[in-house]
């Protein structure tokens, strides 16, 4: 019963996320509403970590495989991209690296220069 209950809770939150996506006018998908809802439920104690833990660990572990079909689908969009391949490829490679470096370095500098709350208070 434990796994059934855990999976049930996670699917219920997915479903609520779907409802919010339909009702609210933002381009924000069900999964993002869902993360926020589950997080709030955990924070408020409405859902305990123990009541979702194993199923959530399992789903997170198998998550990389869920991206395989989408990436294989690139086969089909190849024809549309081919004509502008160079700019798309160059921009994708450069910006991905730059964003990773900038955000990582900024956080690291911030932590090093004492942007911790305990030092301010």
């Amino acid at each position: 019963m434990r796994f059934l209950r855990q999976f049930g809770i996670i699917l219920l939150i997915s479903f609520i996320g779907e409802i919010l996506y339909v009702l609210l006018p933002f381009p924000i998908p069900a999964s993002i509403y869902g993360i926020i809802i589950l997080f709030l439920c955990l924070e408020t104690g409405l859902v305990s970590v123990a009541s979702v833990k194993e199923t959530s660990d399992f789903l997170i572990e198998i998550m990389p495989i869920m991206f395989v079909p989408a990436a294989v689908g690139l086969m089909d969009s190849w024809q549309t991209i081919k004509s502008d391949l160079v700019p798309y490829a160059v921009i994708t490679v450069i910006t991905t690296c730059v964003v990773m470096i900038v955000s990582g370095r900024v956080v690291q500098l911030g932590i090093r220069f004492g942007m911790r709350r305990d030092k301010h208070e």
């Binding site: 996670i10 939150i13 996320g17 779907e18 933002f26 381009p27 924000i28 998908p29 069900a30 999964s31 993002i32 869902g34 993360i35 809802i37 589950l38 997080f39 924070e43 959530s56 660990d57 789903l59 997170i60 198998i62 998550m63 990389p64 495989i65 869920m66 991206f67 395989v68 079909p69 990436a71 294989v72 690139l74 969009s77 549309t80 991209i81 700019p87 798309y88 160059v90 921009i91 994708t92 490679v93 450069i94 910006t95 991905t96 690296c97 730059v98 964003v99 990773m100 470096i101 955000s103 990582g104 370095r105 956080v107 690291q108 911030g110 932590i111 942007m115 911790r116 709350r117 305990d118």
Partner: protein
């Protein structure tokens, strides 16, 4: 032969898992970034479909059942995030400034390069949401008048790149702090990168999950402003 695969319920899912398993084995043997399990899995599946002349849509039909779990799995990222809440509270300023500067860098560097390549408005806004999670990115691209299918392709390539090169880039640029590594991965390469962050450690995974949400929402706002720079 193809007819059997078309009716098989488990072919697509099994092929995906098997290919990913081979990728994991190769990665264990040779610890090079190129042997990324996700990349290997995609290459094997594409090769298999091409060689055996099975239509991509046949595979997709079966593989749907794994994609179905993507939303529930993404939602579960809230659990590690909650478990690392103390660490997050201590460092929230650095974390938020880091994600914000990452999103701004993404939009600004795309604008700059779009100018250099003389892209038109549609191609430019197609690229703007490239670093955020697919479902949000599609919505942004559609709303701003981009080519949605290309946006999806670019987002996936971005994610796979982040997944492949995160460790190498962080090492070269001396990003050692697990919080910084997590934010760097999540802000640049969304959920596909986060899968990698999860393997690196709990803190990395939690911070990367947070970045998906925050950078996704910031990009929705930021992209609509940046879209006006190339008309």
């Amino acid at each position: 032969m193809s007819e059997f695969f078309e009716t098989s319920v488990f072919f697509g899912v099994f092929l995906s898992i098997l290919s990913y398993g081979i990728g994991v084995m190769l990665k264990k043997k040779w610890k090079l970034a190129v042997f990324n399990p996700l990349l290997i899995a995609v290459v094997i599946v594409i090769l298999f479909l091409t060689v055996s002349n099975i239509d991509c849509s046949v595979y997709q039909e079966g593989a749907k059942s794994i994609s179905f779990l993507l939303t529930p799995a993404t939602i579960c990222l809230a659990v590690p995030l909650y478990e690392q809440m103390e660490l997050l509270k201590k460092n929230y300023k650095a974390v938020l400034i880091g994600i914000f500067s990452g999103v701004l860098t993404s939009l600004a560097s795309i604008l700059l390069l779009a100018f250099l390549f003389e892209l038109d408005h549609a191609s430019y806004v197609t690229l703007l949401p490239k670093s955020i999670t697919t479902a949000i990115g599609m919505g942004v691209s559609e709303e701003l008048g981009g080519y949605v299918s290309i946006t999806v392709a670019v987002i996936i390539v971005t994610g796979v790149m982040g997944n492949m090169f995160a460790e190498t880039i962080c090492r070269i640029f001396k990003i050692h702090d697990p919080i910084a590594i997590g934010i760097a991965i999540g802000t640049s390469s969304h959920a596909i990168g986060t899968a990698k962050a999860m393997e690196l450690g709990e803190v990395e995974g939690a911070m990367s999950s947070l970045s998906i949400v925050v950078s996704g929402i910031l990009t929705v706002i930021g992209a609509s402003l940046f879209a006006q720079f190339i008309v």
